[in-house]
């Protein structure tokens, strides 16, 4: 309804008797500021339009409407106080008179029924719901009662000292909404995708409202905890051989190459792969860097002796397999926090990339045959 009042005013602005004035003072001078509040539409209409008549001959200033907008966000939420309601009533009356003027009727004897008819004439609506059609009513009837009641209730609670601010928030960290399958299982009925999307939408909406912590149990029923990733790693205990030297084994795989590593403590940093020295087994620097990465990351370069065996794949994949094996073997020597850092560095994740299948009609996995125009 208020929106229609705005439209009315703008129409009024451009009405014939004001048009000349407006042309002289066109530009974004008017149409003051708006304030939308969820649930209740109300706005402040700056009666700048009346200024126009006075400043007809003033020079047109190129001032944008933005500057005239009051910084209402700083003013705080609108309070439904008595003056506010009085102002709204005044505006309604003025608007009623303008409407009567427009329809060419007498402003003094303009009844509510006349208002309704004129609105229906000026803004024909194809909507079926009566409540959705544009209307213009006196503010006292049914507009602010709900908001006033809420405010009265809040004041009463404040008086009794029961009005607590909404400080408690539901913690959503580390949990996720139920999946569609899990929801179906819970409700024992099939749900379509749209329904599921709508459900998630509504739950999010619920969480965005104030005092949602009251319904925390209800919300948590539809959420599942996420497991912490690092606790999935199985760290094997250290084994000791006959001299009391600690050792551990690890194995890793990468793209058809498998490698096993026997890591011994208190060594000198010597590595033997399949019986030969690693400098001779991996002449390429890149492969040796791959081997070095887990040790260097943890800063234990010269500490361990390694005996590795590897087979399958090419030199790069063998190096990758050994790197994974070394990282896994090192887990038993490290503390929890270090294990977590290793996991986040990606040292413990096996590389899932495999050679892609060659498709028929193409030369390789992606490469197509040469295209000949004719």
């Amino acid at each position: 309804m208020q929106m229609q009042r705005l439209l009315l005013s703008t129409y009024f602005l451009f009405s014939p008797e004001r048009r000349t004035a407006n042309m002289a003072a066109s530009g974004g001078r008017t149409v003051g500021s708006f304030l939308w509040k969820c649930g209740n539409c109300c706005f402040n209409f700056n009666t700048v339009s009346s200024n126009l008549t006075r400043q007809v001959l003033s020079r047109q200033l190129c001032v944008s409407a933005v500057l005239h907008r009051k910084n209402l966000a700083a003013a705080g939420p609108e309070k439904f106080s008595e003056e506010f309601i009085k102002k709204q009533v005044e505006e309604f009356n003025i608007g009623k008179r303008h409407l009567a003027n427009m329809m060419g009727e007498d402003p003094e004897t303009f009844t509510q029924g006349d208002i309704n008819r004129s609105i229906a004439y000026l803004f024909p609506s194809g909507l079926f719901d009566k409540k959705a059609k544009p209307l213009m009513k006196h503010p006292d009837e049914d507009t602010f009662t709900k908001a006033l009641a809420v405010e009265k209730h809040q004041d009463r609670l404040r008086g009794k000292d029961l009005f607590t601010q909404d400080a408690k928030q539901i913690s959503l960290v580390g949990s996720r909404w139920l999946l569609k399958e899990e929801l179906e299982e819970l409700l024992v009925e099939t749900i379509s995708e749209h329904d599921y999307a709508r459900f998630i939408q509504l739950m999010e909406r619920l969480l965005s409202l104030p005092y949602c912590s009251v319904e925390e149990d209800f919300v948590q029923r539809y959420r599942r905890q996420l497991e912490i990733q690092s606790s999935k790693q199985q760290v094997q205990p250290l084994q000791y051989d006959q001299h009391g030297v600690a050792y551990s084994t690890g194995d890793g795989r990468r793209k058809t190459a498998t490698g096993t590593v026997l890591l011994r403590d208190s060594g000198s940093g010597s590595i033997s792969i399949n019986g030969t020295n690693y400098v001779h087994y991996f002449p390429v620097l890149q492969d040796r860097e791959q081997l070095m990465f887990p040790l260097h990351f943890m800063g234990v370069l010269g500490r361990f002796d390694m005996q590795c065996s590897v087979s399958g794949g090419g030199h790069s994949s063998q190096a990758g397999a050994l790197r994974l094996a070394i990282s896994r073997a090192m887990l038993s020597f490290l503390s929890e926090g270090q294990v977590e850092t290793m996991r986040q560095a990606g040292l413990l994740t096996p590389d899932p990339r495999i050679k892609e299948r060659k498709k028929p009609g193409q030369e390789g996995a992606r490469r197509k045959f040469t295209w000949k125009k004719r």
Partner: protein, 352 residues
């Protein structure tokens, strides 16, 4: 103490790990062809040639100092994994020999004589053998540069006839023979053979005696197979090459008054697996039998001290530019990545 000014003759165990500079004047005379190519580049970059004093070279030099030169020649064999510094130790010893006034016969790489030869001429001297004129003339040129002062002193003891019109008389200086070999490329291989024979005969001699050092790099090439083929596509055995034949005669210990220092090399060797580095594997049956008995000198990777010294040398020369390489962490990384292998370390530092 990173640097020592002593020449090889005066170095001892206390100088292990230190670098000594080869005087620039010696460089072109002593090492026209013997140094590893990467080391030559390094010399050019740093504008000086610094060699690290290491255990194998010192051992060799001490053997040479104490050997009895009236007995048949001792043969020393340097062996080790690829890149551990065999050629450098050989060059160190050669430098010692030349400072002591020996006559140095330095064959930079015997493998060069058994592969990649463009011209194979049938030998004029011996019907079944083959000549390699280019290699022979190259070697003679370098030999001339190395041993300038000996060439006029040594006199030939035999008359050599090259063609119907050419011959070299008895009593002529060796230099003339060498010059002839360099100019007459066709008979250069035979000239090489003649030179070697003369030197063998005169090395232990009492009158005007000089010590002869035969330094052969990649000696396992003399007994393996060759990649050369005759015109009918049948492979050439090493014995059928004049140069190889004569060199083998030198390496035999039937002469006295010098020493034979040899290195095994897998890098240039033909048909040998890359993991082989022991004498038995690389020399083969035949080679091992002919080299037997020899004094094996193992060349190992850098020890802690030596690695430290090399690292400090590179830092000193501002070769390691990356700021991380100057930290302890960087040093550990270098140790790991190169496993203290000298050549690997050198290649690694080249782009830091």
């Amino acid at each position: 103490m990173l640097y020592t000014c002593l020449l090889p003759a005066c170095q001892s165990e206390q100088h292990l790990g230190q670098y000594y500079t080869v005087p620039p004047s010696h460089f072109h005379t002593v090492f026209p062809h013997g140094l590893p190519p990467r080391y030559q580049q390094q010399v050019k970059t740093f504008n000086e040639g610094c060699v690290m004093v290491r255990q194998p070279a010192l051992e060799l030099i001490s053997h040479l100092k104490r050997a009895d030169y009236s007995k048949p020649t001792l043969r020393y064999l340097l062996y080790g994994v690829k890149g551990s510094g065999k050629t450098m130790s050989l060059c160190h010893t050669v430098h010692y020999c030349s400072t002591q006034g020996w006559l140095v016969l330095h064959i930079p790489d015997a493998h060069l004589w058994v592969k990649n030869c463009k011209e194979l001429l049938p030998s004029s001297y011996h019907a079944s053998r083959f000549d390699q004129p280019i290699q022979a003339s190259n070697w003679l040129r370098n030999f001339r540069t190395t041993n300038e002062h000996f060439l006029s002193k040594i006199k030939l003891r035999q008359r050599y006839v090259w063609t119907k019109r050419e011959s070299t008389e008895e009593g002529r200086p060796l230099g003339e023979l060498v010059d002839m070999g360099v100019s007459r490329v066709k008979s250069s291989s035979d000239v090489v053979g003649a030179v070697l024979k003369e030197l063998r005969l005169q090395a232990g001699g009492t009158e005007g005696g000089f010590r002869l050092a035969v330094a052969v790099d990649g000696v396992n090439g003399l007994w393996g197979r060759t990649t050369l083929k005759k015109e009918d596509k049948s492979p050439v055995a090493p014995e059928e090459l004049t140069l190889v034949h004569n060199l083998r005669k030198m390496i035999n210990n039937d002469w006295c008054g010098g020493a034979v220092i040899a290195t095994l090399s897998q890098t240039g060797s033909l048909y040998a697996p890359s993991s082989a580095y022991l004498p038995q594997e690389l020399l083969g049956e035949e080679g091992f039998d002919s080299m037997d008995p020899f004094v094996p000198v193992p060349v190992s990777l850098y020890s802690e001290k030596e690695f430290e010294s090399c690292y400090l040398y590179y830092l000193d020369r501002h070769w390691l530019q990356h700021p991380h390489s100057q930290t302890e962490e960087g040093k550990k990384e270098l140790i790991f990545l190169s496993n203290r292998n000298p050549s690997v370390l050198e290649r690694l530092c080249a782009f830091l």
